[in-house]
């Protein structure tokens, strides 16, 4: 087993998926899953809030994976596994009927899969960035500046700015979005 894992350790996810789909060797799938197992455990903990339930869920998601990965063509395994894990936990919550429906207006975040594109090398854009930062709300401006320009962590931002640590992430996410809208208008 260890031998197989060592062999698989450097291969890309997609190659392991094809190997599993063609041969059906579960050791390959186990090696692939264990790359993300600790993340899956964290996601399950977030939704289920109980270590025993999260433990069971991680194993059940692996069993789901054996069936689903044979049928589905997966281009980007990590994203697919995240959705699979999240949906699995949500189904558990629904079965247990412990979902409470509260509107959450404070912790707004962008759901898109953000990815970095090529860097734009234009000084004029930097100028517009500064103008746009100034146009942000006070909280968003402060959060964006401290996080991205001063490289402060949430804890430091909370202590220097007196902002609630739960809201900082939302200010950063929404600030980024507003910056993007503003930059698109000015450029």
């Amino acid at each position: 087993m260890t031998f197989i894992k060592n062999i698989e350790s450097n291969k890309p996810d997609e190659e392991l998926i094809l190997q599993f789909q063609s041969i059906g060797n579960l050791s390959v799938l186990a090696a692939l899953y264990q790359r993300y197992m600790e993340l899956v455990y964290g996601v399950c903990l977030k939704y289920l809030k109980n270590e025993e339930d999260a433990k069971d869920a991680v194993i059940n998601i692996y069993e789901d994976l054996i069936v689903k990965l044979k049928k589905h063509q997966v281009d980007y395994f990590k994203g697919w596994l995240y959705q699979l894990s999240k949906n699995h936990c949500l189904m558990i919550l629904r079965k247990k009927k412990i979902i409470s429906l509260y509107p959450d207006t404070e912790n707004m975040q962008i759901s898109d899969n953000l990815h970095l594109e090529e860097v734009m090398n234009k000084e004029s854009q930097l100028n517009s960035l500064h103008k746009c930062i100034e146009q942000l709300t006070e909280e968003q401006r402060q959060a964006i500046t401290l996080f991205y320009l001063e490289k402060k962590c949430y804890k430091e931002i909370a202590s220097t700015s007196n902002m609630d640590i739960n809201k900082i992430k939302s200010y950063i996410q929404n600030g980024r979005r507003n910056l993007k809208i503003c930059m698109d208008k000015t450029v």
């Binding site: 087993m1 094809l18 063609s22 041969i23 050791s27 799938l29 264990q34 993300y36 197992m37 993340l39 455990y41 964290g42 996601v43 399950c44 903990l45 270590e51 991680v58 194993i59 980007y76 990590k78 994203g79 995240y82 999240k86 919550l93 629904r94 009927k97 412990i98 409470s100 429906l101 509260y102 509107p103 207006t105 912790n107 707004m108 975040q109 962008i110 759901s111 899969n113 953000l114 970095l116 860097v119 734009m120 090398n121 854009q125 100028n127 500064h130 103008k131 964006i144 500046t145 996080f147 991205y148 320009l149 001063e150 490289k151 609630d164 996410q173 929404n174 980024r176 993007k180 930059m183």
Partner: protein, 351 residues
């Protein structure tokens, strides 16, 4: 977002992050990565509930390995059975053909036996694998700009900062440039979206389906609330053709509630805003009077009884006994609750 867990953040890192054993720089690095990766972000949030991850994860790993071994063994025994059946069938055919030839006293013609390679399939699979060209991952780089522009934001940057302001600005610029604004902001953190009894994640919902929405939320700044049939929906100014169904789990301590949704689950009589305010104001009074002030996150869960009192407390995440009891006392002595269902309320107090 990357193929692998690109930053190699492990459970150990998440635990260190929450236990305050990480340096500020390391924490920032992790937070920055989490902003780019929802999987990492959720996992990081989740480990706050973990007390035994270091014990549980090896157990899960062993369990998965055991399942793989068990299936591998059963597959091997099935292959052996098929192999034996194949040999037996071949012998029967040879004997039958031989007997048929002798009994008919026909001229004996040489039988040419053709041996098929039973490993053909696996050879083919191996060939397929050899032909696979692994997709190459496209990595983008930050911090390539070296433009020198002074900050107009009135923030003082420390002199000993290793990165220059322009590097940081370039980094921010590239992050902003890559931000996708086609979708309106969503409360992903601790949120659950449901539509037509299906679990959906971050999906748009057409207006025609709006009456099926279970619960919704809105951002005061950018969203406009409207009533659709008997339920509430959210209309975005950017994408008016869509509604979004959003609801959050019971774990949020800082949730703003409105009256329209109070009938969905148990909630404070005076509303969540008032309750959160009560906790914020009184937790200081409680902790200031203690010998050792409480520091950290306390998570409690409880039921609401028929009289509207919180009962049956359970400590989901503990600080220390005195602090746990202070938190329980705080909620017990707080405002009354409306009981609407039997679900437990989970409440976080950040001391």
């Amino acid at each position: 977002m990357n193929l692998l867990n690109k930053n190699n953040f492990s459970a150990k890192d998440f635990i260190q992050y929450h236990s305050g054993k990480m340096s500020d720089t390391e924490m920032h690095e992790m937070e920055e990565s989490a902003l780019e990766d929802n999987f990492l972000s959720d996992a990081l949030d989740g480990y706050i509930y973990s007390n035994n991850a270091e014990k549980n994860l090896p157990e899960i790993k062993n369990n998965i390995d055991a399942k793989s071994k068990a299936t591998f063994k059963s597959n091997a025994s099935i292959r052996k059975i098929y192999f034996s059946i194949g040999i037996a069938a071949s012998l029967i055919i040879i004997l039958f053909v031989g007997y048929f030839n002798i009994s008919n006293k026909s001229e004996v013609t040489p039988i040419i036996a053709k041996v098929e390679n039973i490993d053909n399939k696996s050879d083919q699979a191996t060939n397929n694998l050899n032909n696979i060209t692994p997709k190459k991952e496209i990595k983008t780089k930050q911090n390539e700009i070296k433009a020198k522009v002074k900050l107009t934001v009135p923030i003082t940057i420390p002199v000993d900062e290793k990165k220059t302001a322009s590097d940081a600005e370039s980094s921010l610029q590239s992050v902003v440039a890559s931000t996708n604004i086609n979708e309106p902001p969503l409360p992903v953190d601790n949120s659950i979206q449901e539509y037509n009894n299906q679990t959906i994640a971050d999906k748009k919902i057409p207006i025609s389906a709006a009456p099926k929405i279970i619960a919704t939320s809105s951002d005061k700044d950018k969203f406009k609330e409207t009533e659709v049939s008997s339920i509430k929906s959210v209309k975005t100014s950017n994408a008016p053709e869509y509604y979004r169904a959003v609801s959050a789990t019971a774990s949020k301590s800082e949730i703003k509630n409105d009256d329209a949704n109070n009938n969905l689950s148990s909630s404070p009589v005076e509303g969540w805003n008032s309750f959160n305010k009560y906790i914020r104001e009184n937790k200081k009074i409680v902790t200031d009077s203690m010998k050792n002030p409480c520091k950290g996150l306390l998570i409690l869960s409880f039921n609401v009884n028929d009289n509207g009192a919180p009962v049956d407390f359970k400590v989901e995440r503990s600080i220390e006994e005195a602090c746990n009891n202070a938190g329980i006392k705080l909620i017990k002595n707080g405002p009354k609750w409306n009981k609407n269902d039997n679900n437990r309320i989970v409440y976080k107090i950040n001391f």
